[in-house]
């Protein structure tokens, strides 16, 4: 159950970027599972069910609460240069970039890199053709990589300016 708790909570958290709502909907999903526990055949089935339920619930919640404005990755403001440890800074930047992805692409990226699922499994979970999953992954990776490189170049330039002055 602990592993499933983290999986369900993390998917909701990364998708919605709101810990309170993520916990609330994760609880709802577990409660829903408890109500129909007699229909669950195995632990794998429970994990699949929970993953599917939290994905759809998070997407619905995002639409309902309009937590995320409809903007593309290109218009996401870049995070300011930070003074934290380089790894932490890089992770946080990447998280923000992922959070700025459009809804469907964001969920596909989360399922691929957080849950380590392959495109066929993601396609089953999200009721989406495999080709669409692959296309979301390909485009998202390209955009994330480009955006991150741009941000890193800016940071290096800023550090160089600081060193010169």
């Amino acid at each position: 159950m602990d592993a499933n708790q983290s999986m369900v909570f993390s998917l909701a958290l990364r998708y919605l970027r709101d810990a309170e709502t993520a916990e609330e909907i994760a609880q709802d999903v577990f409660l829903q599972l408890y109500r129909q526990f007699d229909r669950i055949q195995s632990t794998e089935h429970a994990t699949f069910w929970l993953r599917r339920a939290i994905c759809h619930r998070a997407i619905d919640e995002s639409r309902k609460r309009k937590l995320r404005p409809r903007i593309g990755l290109e218009s996401v403001p870049e995070p300011p240069a930070e003074t934290a440890a380089p790894d932490t800074m890089l992770n946080e930047r990447l998280r923000r970039l992922v959070a700025g992805l459009p809804d469907a692409a964001r969920m596909v990226v989360l399922l691929r890199y957080q849950e380590d699922l392959d495109p066929a499994e993601i396609s089953k979970l999200l009721d989406m053709p495999v080709s669409t999953v692959k296309s979301h992954l390909h485009r998202s990776l390209a955009v994330l990589r480009r955006k991150l490189e741009k941000m890193q170049a800016q940071t290096i330039r800023a550090q160089a300016r600081e060193a010169c002055s």
């Binding site: 916990e23 609880q27 109500r35």
Partner: protein, 107 residues
């Protein structure tokens, strides 16, 4: 580290809040308690009224249909009796007429 590995590292699962399980169990127990509690008086009354309405809805049409069936049967029986009586009367009249005709011829 490749870019994809970096993404995996960045997006690794976060542990759920420490009290997640406790909160969940509290909700499960609250739900079980609510399911086990007897329904409030107005709900019981409403259920009784609904059950009564359902029973009445099922019984009344059946009673009406049975009454109509009996009436129809009684009507058919009366009609048959009347037809028999008419037949008897007809035969009696024919017989009487025959007797009168015979007597008239002999006298």
């Amino acid at each position: 580290m490749s870019f994809e590995d970096q993404l995996r590292e960045t997006l690794r699962q976060e542990p759920a809040p420490a009290d997640f399980r406790a909160k969940l169990m509290a909700r499960v127990q609250a739900e079980s308690r609510a399911a086990a509690l007897p329904a409030p008086w107005w709900k019981r009354r409403l259920s009784l009224a609904l059950a009564a309405a359902l029973v009445a809805g099922a019984v009344i049409p059946a009673g009406v249909l049975e009454h109509e069936r009996r009436e129809r049967e009684r009507g058919l029986a009366a009609r048959n009796q009347l037809l028999t009586a008419l037949a008897v009367t007809n035969s009696t009249l024919r017989h009487t007429r025959e007797m009168i005709r015979r007597n008239t011829r002999h006298s």
